[in-house]
């Protein structure tokens, strides 16, 4: 195998993987704090794409304003979802919250179908992100550079919040012992909402990157990336943010390499994710970086 070919594939794999990782941040944050697999996370990502789409097309905002507004709106959607759907079942058995999450997922998808229509819409990728550079014989699309960069910025931001701020300290405490955290005077529900907001905003950023990579958006577009992000999160050890990023990279590289090395198996690329999920659940359910969680 040629070196340039290999490098080319690795670059693509890292770009795709960091995208999975970016979406997985929200998954893993929410799980970390309230042990909820938020099945609606991919659909929240989809909503973020539509917010950005309408920002550019209907309100003719500059792309960066539209992206920022989309992230804020998606954060608000995340808070609404938490307050409206998950807060009422917070003290119910965990299975109730899980079923609620599936319900929220269907709700968002179907509201999307009704309001936005089922026909895919072309996403207007800003010129800056659609260029392709040629570097040392490698074809480097701008997105392949921007996606990992943006991911790195958001990942650092999230890690900063969690490890260096008072709110983040409260998040870590809630994940360990919600009741005792209350005794410290922490408004636990508020902190959980902040977690949803941050995770959803990150998902919106990931979704927008996704939409530029595959520039057609539709109300069901969140399902596959949502699932891949879930696998990334489990792979890295669900609840662990750095782990989610590693899991995403691993999954992205594995997928791209499969397609590159065995093009005849390209149709199975989604199966790679399923296969990895099954393997990890069988042999190392706590993931690569996960530790045993207090139940």
């Amino acid at each position: 195998m040629e070196l340039t070919f290999f490098l080319q594939q690795m670059i693509n794999g890292v770009a795709l993987g960091s995208l999975y990782g970016l979406i997985a941040i929200g998954y893993t944050m929410v799980y970390g704090i309230i042990r909820l697999i938020n099945f609606a996370h991919g659909d929240v990502m989809m909503m973020g794409c539509y917010f950005a789409y309408f920002g550019i097309l209907m309100f003719s905002m500059p792309w960066w304003v539209s992206f920022a507004v989309a992230m804020v709106l998606t954060a608000v959607l995340g808070i609404t979802m938490d307050k409206g759907a998950y807060l009422p079942v917070r003290n119910a058995p965990r299975i109730s919250a899980l079923i609620t999450a599936i319900g929220v997922s269907f709700l968002l998808e179907n509201v999307g179908l009704v309001v936005f229509g089922g026909r895919p819409k072309g996403f207007a990728t800003p010129a800056m992100f659609s260029e392709v550079y040629e570097v040392a014989g490698l074809m480097v699309p701008a997105l392949v550079v921007w996606t990992p960069l943006l991911t790195l910025v958001i990942l650092s931001g999230v890690l900063f919040i969690i490890h260096r701020t008072k709110t983040g300290r409260a998040m870590r405490c809630i994940s360990l012992d919600m009741e005792t955290t209350r005794l410290m005077g922490v408004d636990v529900n508020r902190i959980i909402s902040v977690t949803f907001a941050v995770g959803s905003a990150a998902a919106a950023a990931g979704g927008i990157m996704w939409a530029m990579r595959y520039p057609e958006i539709n109300p069901l577009m969140g399902i596959i990336p949502g699932f891949k992000a879930f696998v990334a999160a489990v792979l890295g050890g669900i609840g662990n943010i750095t782990g989610a990023m590693l899991g995403g990279l691993l999954l992205g590289v594995a997928e791209i390499l499969l397609v590159a090395l065995m093009p005849e198996l390209a149709g199975y690329r989604d199966a790679v994710a399923f296969g990895l999920l099954i393997l990890i659940l069988l042999f190392r359910p706590t993931g690569l970086m996960g530790t045993k969680l207090p139940d």
């Binding site: 008072k166 409260a170 870590r172 405490c173 005792t180 410290m184 005077g185």
Partner: protein
Amino acid sequence: MLRVEGLSVHYGGIHALKSVSIHVPEEKVVTLVGANGAGKSTLLRAVSGLVPVSGGKIRYAGRDILGIPSHRIAREGIAMSPEGRRVFVNLSVYENLLMGAYCRDDRKEIDRDIEWIFETFPRLLERRDQPAATLSGGEQQMLALGRALMSRPRLLLLDEPSLGLAPLLIREVFRVITKIHQEGTTILLIEQNAMAALHVADYGYVLETGEIVLEGTGKDLLCDERVKKAYLGET
């Protein structure tokens, strides 16, 4: 300061507290003794708003606090060191103390209080940046106590602070409790170690299967035949 009147708590079919009334006057130490399962923790948890109450009243600083969410009760100046220590195991000792001061904004005063805690418990200073999980049981108990103090509570609820500690450490814990009390904090103390508790307490209640069966000053209870028999291990 704290007045509990006719408090009842049910866990499903279990009637854990049956119309319990206690009074904790300002700047006093009141203790609640009783066997395992008597309902001592339940009473503290009800005061902190952690368990739903089925009847009665809880008045604190002249206000009804029943039904107020836990975090708001904490902000009113009630701190609890819960049963089983419950320190935040992944957080460092220092971060645990900061969590205790969560409701405060006076950064300088917080630093001063943390210094005070470290002076009082030098062992904690040695382990300042280690995760609380690496502490011994006794050190974790010190940390739980220190964390509760970091909110500068007006009323301190202590649930078995000496549980599982070596005798030397137990004495240390009671020394600190006395010190905190002398500095003006009101304390409601739960203990299985009835002897030590009644010695530091101004007033005590004896709880049996969810009911107050006896009350009196610490001295009186220490001399009471029934208390001696049941809780002080004398015959």
